[in-house]
């Protein structure tokens, strides 16, 4: 046995660990919500007086996408979602997350006026960039966001027929992620 090989082997081991460590994304925190029932809520929708709650989607596999008009990464993600919605029949529900930020002038308004402003802004934005959502809900104070463990918009969830969260992605959804992970998952969930 050649003794000088030992430090070399140790060094290579260290390099491997470092390579793995450095290539991981520290922003990707495993969500404890995977395989847990999607937290219930009842929120105003973008249009009309009807409220939306996740229970309305029972029996369907759906995508829940958290976004905001002030979110820069959402702008990058949005065309991907629009293209996806045009091509596939998977329902996507949008959650407009804290549309009115604390530093915003509109933050001083009353709750009803705030909802109105948030709806208008979201509506204009969706009109310009395309609307991939079958329904959009307004989470003005970010409470529902907290229940879903949202910490960086955009975030995307896949929820199954029983209302269980099966997948979560933090950050912009890419065509590759949709094709390689999300679509196959939805296919298997659809069949079950």
């Amino acid at each position: 046995m050649k003794k000088f090989l030992i430090p070399l082997a140790l060094f290579l081991g260290l390099v491997i660990f470092l390579a793995i460590g450095l290539n991981r994304n520290p922003r990707e925190i495993p969500s404890p919500l995977i395989n847990k029932p999607a937290p219930a809520f009842s929120l105003h929708t973008l249009e009309g007086d009807a409220m939306f709650s996740p229970a309305d989607m029972r029996g369907r596999v759906w995508i829940f996408n958290v976004w905001a008009t002030w979110c820069v990464a959402c702008r990058e993600e949005h065309p991907v979602l629009v293209a996806f919605a045009n091509k596939h029949a998977v329902p996507i529900v949008g959650l407009s997350y804290k549309e009115i930020q604390p530093q915003d002038e509109a933050a001083k308004l009353g709750p009803d006026a705030k909802l109105q402003v948030a709806r208008e802004r979201s509506w204009v934005w969706l009109k310009r960039h395309g609307n991939p959502y079958i329904n959009s809900v307004m989470d003005l104070d970010g409470r529902v966001g907290i229940d879903y463990g949202v910490y960086g918009v955009p975030e995307t969830y896949v929820i199954d027929k029983e209302g269980v969260i099966r997948f979560k992605h933090v950050g912009a959804v890419t065509p590759a992620l949709l094709a390689e992970k999300i679509l196959p998952l939805i296919d298997t969930l659809d069949k079950s």
């Binding site: 520290p26 922003r27 925190i29 495993p30 969500s31 404890p32 919500l33 804290k98 930020q101 604390p102 104070d141 970010g142 409470r143 966001g145 907290i146 229940d147 879903y148 463990g149 910490y151 960086g152």
Partner: protein, 157 residues
């Protein structure tokens, strides 16, 4: 006299710091005045919790918006009479163990908690074996008469 000057300077600096701090935590000050007991618990608790946005800051020190929201959430949980453990469970259920600066000891975190000690133990075992092998290698050899005579001659110079 000179010493007194230093004290004045120090007092001024401290005053400045208090002022700066007050400015930064402005919005929190109102809540603080409202219910100091809740705020005191919030401060202690949130030092144990990590801010998800700026990951190396605690919830107590972070100015990220999400941290504001989470502090508000923790505040209302405390007001509802929840225990510290219940507050932590609330956040762990949503954000995972990552929010805790001191994760719970459970099979998943065993490596984290005990790994360093296992490594140290291994290192000690290796050190012991190395020292033993070395001692065997450099066994003191008895001097022959010839060596002794030569050494004496050198010492006489």
């Amino acid at each position: 006299m000179k010493q007194r000057g230093w004290w004045v300077l120090l007092a001024c600096l401290m005053q400045l710091q208090v002022l700066l701090h007050a400015q930064v935590i402005g919005p929190e000050a109102a809540a603080m005045a409202q219910d100091p007991v809740v705020e005191a618990r919030l401060v202690v608790l949130s030092q144990e919790l990590r801010c998800l946005v700026c990951q190396n800051e605690s919830l107590a020190s972070s100015h990220a918006e999400l941290a504001d929201d989470l502090r508000r959430e923790v505040r209302s949980l405390i007001r509802e009479g929840k225990s510290d453990q219940e507050v932590k469970d609330f956040l762990v259920a949503r954000y995972g163990d990552f929010v805790l600066y001191r994760p719970e000891v459970k099979p998943l975190t065993w490596v984290l908690w005990f790994g360093p000690f296992v490594l140290m133990l291994l290192a000690l075992v290796f050190l012991g074996r190395y020292l033993q092998a070395r001692r065997a290698q450099v066994k003191p050899q008895a001097l022959s008469d010839e060596d002794r005579a030569r050494a004496e001659q050198w010492l006489k110079g």
